[in-house]
Symmetry: C2
Subunit: 204 residues, 2 copies
C-alpha cells in the first residue's frame, strides 16, 4: 500500500509525543488521551497506525515503549543516515553546525562548495570538498541525503550532479522549481513561499 507523506509526517509527530511521554514515565496511553494532550485527532491517530498493523490493545490503549519501537523502525530511525550539504553559504553552514538538524540518526558527513576559499576548510566539524567531486564524495561517505543550500540559479546543476552521483534523496532549500528525477525522493523547503503565505494572510 502506498502511504501518503501526510500520514508519514504525523507518524513523526506521534513518535515525538511518545518520547516526551516516555520521559515522564508514562507506560501506556489511549488514542484519546494522546490526542487531547497534543491537540491531535484520536480517530486519525488510530487510522494512521492501523495502516501498518495492529499496535494497540483493545479496551486498554497503546504500550508506549512498544509503539515507540514500531514507529522508530517504520520511519527508518533505527539506523544512521549520512547527509551531505551542498552550498556552504549562511544556511548550509548553519545546518551543518545546528544540533537540531545534525543529531539523532542524521549526520552531516561532508560539505560541497565551488568557492576555493571554502574548499578544504573544516566548517562546524564538516570538511568542505570541491563540488566537482560530488560523485567521489557521495561514494566515499555513502551519503543518503543531499541537502541543497545553493542559490536558485545553481540548484538544477547541483541537483543533477547529486542524482548522477547516486544520492537516494534530496532536501532542497533553493527557491526554484527543479526538474525532478523520479528515482530520487525530493522534498522542498521553500522559506520564501512560507513567508509569502504569511504575507497573504496578513493582508487578507
Amino acid at each position: 500500500m502506498e502511504i501518503s507523506p501526510l500520514t508519514v509526517n504525523r507518524l513523526s509527530l506521534y513518535l515525538r509525543c511518545l518520547h516526551s511521554l516516555e520521559g515522564e514515565g508514562v507506560g501506556r496511553i489511549s488514542s484519546l488521551e494522546l490526542a487531547q494532550q497534543f491537540h491531535l485527532s484520536a480517530a486519525q491517530i488510530r487510522k494512521d497506525l492501523a495502516q501498518f498493523g495492529e499496535f494497540g490493545i483493545r479496551g486498554v490503549g497503546y504500550e508506549i515503549p512498544n509503539l515507540i519501537e514500531r514507529l522508530t523502525s517504520l520511519l527508518g530511525l533505527d539506523r544512521i543516515h549520512p547527509m551531505i550539504i551542498i552550498g556552504f553559504g549562511n544556511l548550509g553552514r548553519a545546518l551543518a553546525a545546528s544540533i537540531g538538524f545534525n543529531s539523532g540518526n542524521f549526520r552531516v558527513v561532508a560539505g560541497l562548495d565551488n568557492d576555493p576559499a571554502k574548499i578544504g576548510r573544516r566548517v562546524g566539524g564538516v570538511l568542505v570538498h570541491d563540488a566537482s567531486e560530488t560523485a567521489a564524495v557521495v561514494a566515499a561517505t555513502e551519503a543518503e541525503i543531499g541537502v541543497l543550500t545553493v542559490p536558485a540559479e545553481a540548484a538544477q546543476a547541483n541537483y543533477d550532479r547529486l542524482v548522477a552521483a547516486g544520492i537516494r534523496s534530496i532536501l532542497n532549500f533553493a527557491p526554484t522549481r527543479l526538474s525532478l528525477n523520479a528515482a530520487v525522493r525530493t522534498k522542498d523547503v521553500d522559506l520564501r513561499i512560507d513567508l509569502e503565505e504569511l504575507s497573504y494572510f496578513l493582508s487578507s
Copy 2:
C-alpha cells in the same frame, strides 16, 4: 471566501514563474504554456486565479505584467514586512544574514536572545536585544512576523511572549507542537519531520 494555504502557495509559485518569464521579455502566456514550462497543471492555474477574479483574456491568455501586478498585490508583496528573529543560534544567525530570506519585501529588523554574550551585538547587520524586551522591540520596529529559532524547550514561552507583544504572524522552526493562539497566523517549518519523511521513503 476562505482561500486555502495550498492555493496561496501556488500563487507564490506562479508569481515566481511569471517574474522569470518577464525577465526573458515574454509579454503574455496561456495557462497551458505556463503549465508545460514549469510542470504545473493548467486547469489548476485557471481555478486558482479564478478565485480572485477574471485576470485573463479568453482566446488569448494572461498579460504577464498585469498578472504580476495583481498577484503581487494579492500576496501583500507591494509593501515591506518587518521581521524579528527570536533565538540567535546557528539557524537564527543564518536567516538574519541570508539574502534569500532577508530580501524582497521581507526585512529582518531586529533580533532577540536571552544570552548576555549576544545581547547588544550586531549580527549580520541586525541588533540583538534582550528577549525580556520582546514587547518593546515589537512595538518599536512594528514587526509583523516573528521568526522563532529557539530550542524546542524555549519555544512555547517565546511564542506566548510574541503573541502578547502583538505580533501578527509567526514562522516557527522549533521542533515542537505549540499551543496556538487563533489570532496569530503560525506556520511551522519542521526540518526534523522533513528528514524523517525522507528516511521513511528511503526504507520503504
